[in-house]
């Protein structure tokens, strides 16, 4: 049996090495800032920054390992992320005693089913939640008999399933596409994750360095025009430079990276609006320094389905 590093596609390995280098640089910068800046006012930001960098190491290692294992690894990882994200979301929204069975189906039947269907490479995964779960869950709820706020409760549960499970599952669905002359598709998933997450990070960095004018102060005081423009443009530049990971030409890589960054921004903004409405700062505390799973994947939720559609439409065999 060939050792795994010989089985890994060279571009995938180069990208992995690049991410490792980035983490090392970020860690060194974090340590330097910690040593250089002693002002108590900046202390909290720098501690949080270093906490975030430490968490990034863990996230990148887990993501990298599942990519190397193959499609099953990524499906299990994203299935777990969906489950935990749904848990955070539904804990936050109001549900009633009568929703118990509906919720049980949501968590333990439809969530695993979505990822199971993906593992079968069955293209029908696109209709199971928006058609069948959409009709089935309100029916279970009606049988339970509690009509107070029925429409609102049904909509909240359906929306949770849509964003946390359906939309997020489009990321590992990339692995199922058949693209002539291209592979392994793990590179495509890595490209999406890198551009999307770097866009988030760079918006944060640009916002901290130059942020003055908030975009939507009532939703998130930390999202500024400076952060948005700086982050989206630098993420687009990085995505363009990574064209060799994808089946895209450099120009197409630029356009698609811009699209990922813009959609990611929209996802972050929408998920923040839900948090403000429910009066919380983070969805959870499972990732130290970042908050919950949903705080980390909010941008991916919006970017993944559209990215999938673009790749499928323009590059994949139908």
């Amino acid at each position: 049996m060939t050792p795994f590093w010989q089985r890994v596609d060279p571009p995938l390995m180069w990208a992995g090495a690049g991410i490792l280098g980035l983490l090392v640089v970020a860690t060194l910068v974090g340590l330097a800032l910690q040593a250089a800046i002693r002002a108590p006012s900046a202390r909290a930001t720098i501690d949080n920054l270093n906490q975030r960098i430490r968490a990034w190491w863990g996230l990148c290692i887990i993501f990298g390992l599942t990519l190397v294992v193959g499609p099953t690894g990524s499906l299990v990882l994203f299935g777990l992320l969906s489950f935990l994200a749904l848990r955070e979301y539904l804990t936050l929204v109001e549900t009633r005693r009568a929703d118990h069975h509906t919720l049980f189906w949501t968590f333990f039947i439809f969530t695993p089913l979505q990822y199971y269907l993906l593992s079968l490479r069955w293209s029908g995964f696109v209709i199971v939640i928006p058609v069948y779960a959409f009709l089935f869950l309100p029916a279970i709820m009606a049988i339970a008999g509690d009509t107070r706020g029925f429409l609102e409760r049904a909509a909240k549960i359906q929306w949770g399933l849509m964003i946390c499970v359906y939309c997020l599952s489009y990321a590992p669905a990339l692995l199922m596409l058949d693209i002539p002359g291209y592979g392994p598709n793990a590179k495509l998933l890595l490209f999406l994750a890198t551009v999307d997450q770097l866009s988030d990070v760079l918006q944060y960095v640009w916002g901290k360095l130059a942020g003055r004018h908030p975009i939507a102060p009532s939703v998130s005081p930390n999202k500024t025009w400076e952060g948005f423009v700086g982050g989206v443009l630098s993420a687009t530049a990085i995505g363009t430079a990574l064209w060799w990971l994808t089946p895209f030409s450099p120009w197409a890589a630029a356009a698609i990276s811009l699209m990922i960054a813009l959609l990611g921004f929209a996802g972050g903004l929408v998920m923040s609006a839900i948090k403000r409405d429910r009066g919380v700062k983070d969805y959870g505390s499972i990732i130290k320094g970042h908050g919950g799973i949903l705080d980390r994947v909010d941008s991916m939720i919006f970017a993944a389905p559209v990215f999938f559609h673009v790749v499928r439409f323009f590059y994949a065999l139908h």
Binding site: F83, R87, E88, L90, T91, T95, R97, H100, L103, F104, F107, F108, G284, S285
Partner: protein, 208 residues
């Protein structure tokens, strides 16, 4: 008999399933004999509260459980063998209600010796999670018998959503457990006032 490995495993599972986020409003208490009292909405309440205590507390903290239910077979192995439960009778064959209650309190107090802490749910039964029911007087009588014991209120949130009364299958919400600061006990305080104050201390820990 060393039931600790199994107990630690159960504690780990309980924390994972309930995703419990624990807050000690007043910091960790001194390792002193305590009565933890909380609202009651789910079969999971005891195990989640117990799992959230620091290890050195867990080994000396006993649940109070009904003898008629827990004293047979596998249930007894779990209740007595793993959790070192203090089993008390719910019904006696004879004697007045007051005499029964007094005897029960005596047994609990005796079971505490001078080293065991207790977890009790003074509502006496599981509620819906919307309101905390008035407290039964057992807590008061126990405090009169054990005046030196530290009284720590706690509020359990969302466990009624995870496993409500009457359901068998859990739904994995994230729960929250908040411990408050120790409550003082004055033997001269009227029973009703004390019970109201204890209930208020629990309700004040509710975050939503």
């Amino acid at each position: 008999m060393n039931p600790r490995p199994l107990a630690s495993l159960i504690a780990g599972i309980a924390r994972t399933v309930s995703g419990v986020q624990v807050t000690w409003r007043d910091g960790l208490p001194n390792a002193k004999q305590s009565i933890f009292f909380a609202n009651h909405t789910s079969h999971l309440d005891f195990v989640v509260l117990w799992s959230s205590l620091p290890r050195e507390f867990r080994t000396v903290t006993r649940p109070v459980a009904a003898q008629d239910y827990w004293n047979h077979g596998l249930r007894r192995t779990v209740a007595v063998g793993v959790f070192n439960a203090l089993l008390i009778p719910r019904r006696h064959e004879n004697g007045s209600v007051e005499a029964q209650a007094r005897e029960t309190i005596d047994r609990i107090a005796a079971g505490m010796e001078d080293r065991y802490s207790l977890i009790i749910f003074p509502e006496g039964t599981r509620g819906t999670g919307e309101e905390v029911a008035p407290f039964k007087s057992g807590l008061y009588h126990l405090c009169r018998q054990k005046p030196g014991v530290q009284l720590i209120p706690a509020y359990l949130e969302n466990l009624n959503r995870i496993l409500p009364k009457g359901e068998f299958l859990p739904v994995p919400f994230i729960s929250r457990l908040t411990f408050g600061s120790a409550l003082g006990f004055d033997p001269d305080e009227p029973k009703y006032d004390f019970l109201t104050r204890a209930r208020d201390a629990v309700c004040a820990l509710r975050t939503r």
